[in-house]
């Protein structure tokens, strides 16, 4: 995997592509053409690179851009085409593994719906223009107050963006819907580190309140690797998942407890109550209102609120007390309420009471501020909507985020965007936001672009992951994000960037110039970086300082008779927040839990379904105060009877042939409730009513075939943990 040649533009080139049947010298790309002589064309290299041999794949290191975790990848390149991605074993994030979204980055890159040329709105429609025209337009318009809406962004792209934001006195709003913003805030307040290092592998018991760490939480591949060690014998760790609707992590729990949505914090306080009452845990050092809250939530009281039996509560408390190192986590179902901060803080309190801080929760390393990820959240989405409504934005830039799809209708973002004078989308696809833009700058795909990244979650080992192109651009009129930024900075005459011909030159210089003290590798820093895909940085970490916060008693919304059910919009490892809905592999990949493909669905508990008189495949209408959606029912026992689960990801009005007009988007009908402490959108706080409807004729719920039951055949045999301990101990 050596790569010492810098003139790499040439070898990535697929020459002669474009004409029907024209293939590269000796390229035997699969087709179904005939074998008639002289009917197919072969084009040779003009000048070959010595390390390129037609017919033999070469692997190059890069970084996955399918979510913000920043997994390292190796891409197999043959005759100028990238064919397969695999995890980079040297990456501390994923250590060689990759999830299905990472595998599918190929189909984002080769997607047939990519935008191929800059587009400018004239006379209401988007028309093709040249880059020169596009940039001239931008120079003309970009004088006013501007705003950048992006996804999570890190590394040197963030450096360039910061410089531009500073030069134009703009505001930057990183937006993500799938994340853990409240958890991070609580960690900051109670542990002194917003992103503590989690030792899932060191824990003997994990109690997770809706944290889907195997699926969608922070760094799923990394946590899956840790989980494998956690489950290893003979001292196999136990996982208890407490949540209203089953996540992938819940599906792997030893004990899965359905809890009434929004009462996770109460359950945690109930556990604390038992710890104090029965196991003499001291709470003397806690603030008075926290002590009061713990005393208030006796097991019987908790049972009434949460719907979880006293026995189960006692069992969880007993296991936490007796079973070695524990780790208590809180995910989006606990976060997503107006009192989300209190809930997560109550849950974090358990870690403090159980002495987990410093053991399974450790101080983490932190990237230098200029490279550290600007982690997106929904408070920024709200803030952006408000700024737009106030008429404070003349030019809005969108990159790596699709706010028009993500924002609930109740935020009224679409109307508010009309007040923005000029909207610029830096995008590869015609998604909902891009379709509303006045200027569209087509970006190169992640596999065609340069970059550097720092994962949103680090594991005690700080690495900057290098993204290098795995092939020449498919469309010559697309540009890398870094190159666009550099062009914009040059327009602004920002001096320190004027020297660089392109983003490649800048990045190379910046990586090679990382101070030797920071960079462990030394030597030829740039070549090392490219070859290994990661640059390890020295970074110290301090110690966590646990500190309980005040816990005012949450005001839970009283039951609303008109809207009896809680809507649980659930993110999935697959379509994620909807950004992967245009990937055919992921549309065809059955959902892990329900096995539904190519569609949305509504998860109902059998008692809820019986009450409504619906069965699997029937259509129901879900109406909130903000709007209504319709989808087909999937009935199972992995959801609380008061909860209605609808997955994120579908329901696109735009976004290409694979995504458009398929399923529904539960985010669209959310109320605009916010967490009172952090200002985050309360994603799980929307109450809905359900009714049966006819549904579209001929539209079916399609699932992967086969039986839901093993019919006694022992396809998956299950043994009890004591048997496992015996057999592994024996080994």
């Amino acid at each position: 995997m050596a790569l010492d040649k810098i003139k790499r533009r040439d070898f990535l080139k697929i020459m002669g592509w474009g004409g029907a049947g024209a293939t590269l010298a000796g390229c035997d790309m699969p087709t179904t053409v005939t074998l008639e002589e002289g009917k197919e064309e072969v084009v040779s290299y003009l000048v070959p690179e010595e390390y390129v041999i037609p017919g033999i794949g070469v692997w190059y290191a890069s970084t996955c851009q399918q979510c913000a975790a920043g997994c390292g990848v190796h891409g197999r390149v043959r005759e100028g085409r990238v064919l397969k991605l695999e995890g980079n074993p040297e990456s501390a994030v994923n250590s060689g593994a990759l999830c299905q979204m990472g595998q599918s980055a190929l189909q984002t890159h080769y997607n047939p719906d990519r935008i191929q040329q800059p587009l400018l709105r004239s006379g209401g429609a988007l028309k093709k223009v040249s880059w020169d025209e596009a940039l001239a337009q931008l120079q003309q318009k970009a004088g006013g107050r501007s705003a950048w809406v992006t996804g999570t962004i890190s590394g040197h792209q963030a450096v360039l963006l910061d410089a531009y934001v500073k030069a134009t006195q703009a505001r930057h709003y990183p937006v993500e819907v799938v994340g853990s913003p409240v958890w991070n805030r609580v960690c900051q307040d109670m542990l002194g580190d917003a992103n503590p290092r989690l030792r899932i592998d060191e824990a003997d018991l994990i109690v997770s309140f809706g944290a889907d760490f195997l699926g969608t939480w922070n760094s799923p591949v990394h946590f899956s690797r840790q989980y494998a060690r956690f489950r290893q014998g003979p001292k196999r760790g136990m996982l208890i998942q407490i949540e209203p609707a089953m996540t992938l992590t819940g599906a792997n729990a030893d004990l899965w407890l359905a809890i009434r949505p929004g009462t996770e914090g109460v359950f945690a306080l109930g556990v604390a109550n038992v710890l104090v009452d029965r196991y003499q845990t001291s709470i003397a050092g806690l603030p008075a209102d926290a002590q009061k809250a713990i005393r208030l939530y006796t097991p019987d009281h908790v049972k009434d609120i949460t719907g979880v039996s006293v026995d189960q509560l006692m069992k969880v408390a007993e296991l936490l007390k007796k079973r070695g190192n524990s780790l208590v986590l809180a995910g989006s179902t606990a976060e997503g309420h107006s009192y989300g901060y209190q809930s997560v803080a109550s849950i974090m309190l358990l870690n403090i009471l159980l002495g987990n801080v410093g053991k399974t929760l450790q101080a983490n390393v932190h990237a230098p501020a200029q490279l550290a990820p600007r982690v997106g959240n929904t408070a920024n989405l709200v803030a952006f909507a408000e700024a737009a409504a106030a008429g404070n934005i003349d030019v809005a830039f969108f990159y790596g985020s699709n706010p028009l799809y993500l924002a609930p209708q109740s935020l009224g973002l679409k109307g508010k965007l009309d007040k923005v004078g000029f909207k610029v989308a830096l995008s590869s696809f015609m998604d909902e936001t891009t379709a509303q833009a006045d200027l569209v700058l087509p970006l190169a795909s992640a596999l065609e672009d340069w970059g550097s990244h720092v994962g949103a979650y680090q594991n005690g080992e700080l690495q900057v992951s290098i993204q290098q192109p795995l092939m020449e651009k498919l469309y010559p009129e697309t540009r890398g994000f870094g190159d666009v930024m550099l062009g914009l900075l040059k327009q602004r005459q920002v001096r320190e960037f004027a020297l660089y011909e392109d983003y490649y030159a800048y990045l190379r210089n910046a990586v090679a110039a990382m101070p030797a003290a920071l960079n462990k590798a030394g030597g030829n820093a740039w070549n090392n970086a490219l070859q290994h895909g990661v640059v390890a940085l020295n970074a110290g970490s301090g110690a966590l300082r646990p500190r309980a916060v005040s816990l005012p008693q949450p005001e839970m919304a009283a039951g609303d008779d008109g809207y009896p059910y809680h809507l649980v919009p659930s993110a999935r490892l697959g379509l994620w927040d909807g950004r992967h809905a245009n990937i055919p592999w992921l549309q065809e990949a059955p959902d892990q839990i329900t096995k539904v493909v190519w569609d949305s669905w509504v998860e109902l508990h059998p008692t809820t379904a019986a009450k409504l008189g619906v069965a699997r495949g029937d259509t129901v209408k879900i109406a909130s105060k903000a709007g209504a959606i319709e989808a087909k029912v999937y009935v199972y026992k992995g959801i609380h009877p008061d909860a209605i689960g609808v997955p994120l990801g579908q329901g696109h009005d735009e976004y290409g042939r694979y995504a458009k007009g398929r399923g529904v988007n539960p985010l669209s009908i959310l109320n605009d409730t916010k967490d009172q402490t952090t200002g985050e959108l309360a994603l799980h706080a929307t109450r809905v009513q359900l009714s049966r409807t006819a549904g579209k004729p001929g539209d079916k719920l399609v699932l992967m075939g086969g039986s839901e039951s093993q019919l006694g055949r022992k396809m998956v045999a299950t043994v009890k943990a004591e048997v496992f301990a015996r057999s592994e101990g024996d080994a």
Binding site: I14, D28, M29, P30, T31, R78, V82, L83, K84, G87, L98, C99, Q103, L106, Q107, Y110, P112, L214, P220, V221, S224, R225, Y227, A228, R236, Q241, L248, T249, G250, A251, A253, L255, W256, L573, G574, P584, W585, E588, A589, Q592, V597, D599, Y636, K637, G705, G706, S709, Q710, R713, K714, M715, V716, A717, T718, V719, A721, V723, F724, S727, D730
Partner: protein, 288 residues
Amino acid sequence: MSLQNILQDWSKYRKGNEEGGFHDYEHLWGLAIDLNKCIGCNACSVACYAENNLAVVGKDKFAKHQEMHWLRVERYWDEPDLGEQAVSDYQSHGASFLPMMCQQCMAATCEPVCPVAATYHTPDGLNAQVYNRCIGSRYCSNNCPYRLRYFNFYSYYEDSWPAPLNMQLNPDLTVRDKGVMEKCTFCVQRIRAAKDVAKHEHRELQDGEFTTACAQTCPTQAIVFGDLLSLHTAGKAESTLSTLWRDQQVELGRTEQHKQNPDKRGYRVLEGLNTDPKVMYLERVREV
């Protein structure tokens, strides 16, 4: 090729316990899948799509069970072994996941029914599907107890890979056309490539030198790929995989395992049917 050739050359690779079996294998590729580690995330399945040129059929054809996933992750809700699901209000032990790919049976039920010998046993113990021999009778698929064979009811080249998606196709294996049966090959193109390299360097293939796409990508490393030859033939080099099988006391050529330690978790799905699969699963574990 003549019928005589088929009978003499190819059927010898097909094990018959009653006839003492065949012993001249070069390799016996197999798998072990630990269901204690498998989280059902589906990464293996999509990695398989990427590696093996699997067609995406779309919702309508999927509804007719014409999907082409060589490796599917099955999910069951009940747990016959724990026995208490029927009375519970909730799915309190989560789901049961089972990654299912061709089990590369030693006594494959698909092989004897093929009228044109398009599916046969190779000297490295794989259950081969030769696309250009296949006439699409689908007898093999009917006879597979695992339902792991997938038939090309249509030609998917244009629909499944509209340009430039077709540029992703792996040139090391065929894009199957209409009328042909296909199934998991244990990434035979990777096996062949690794063997070619070893041969070029005049050395034996090393254990762990390569792996299948599913095992490579697995976030929990629940899938282990390797050579089981040492279980079958004395004096052959032990691989990580055969050690694992030995440790689990699972033997080839049995319809029922007689383990010295009954706590060992290794089992083969539906082995009572005398298919002699080369995929060993390790039982899922739950605290109850």
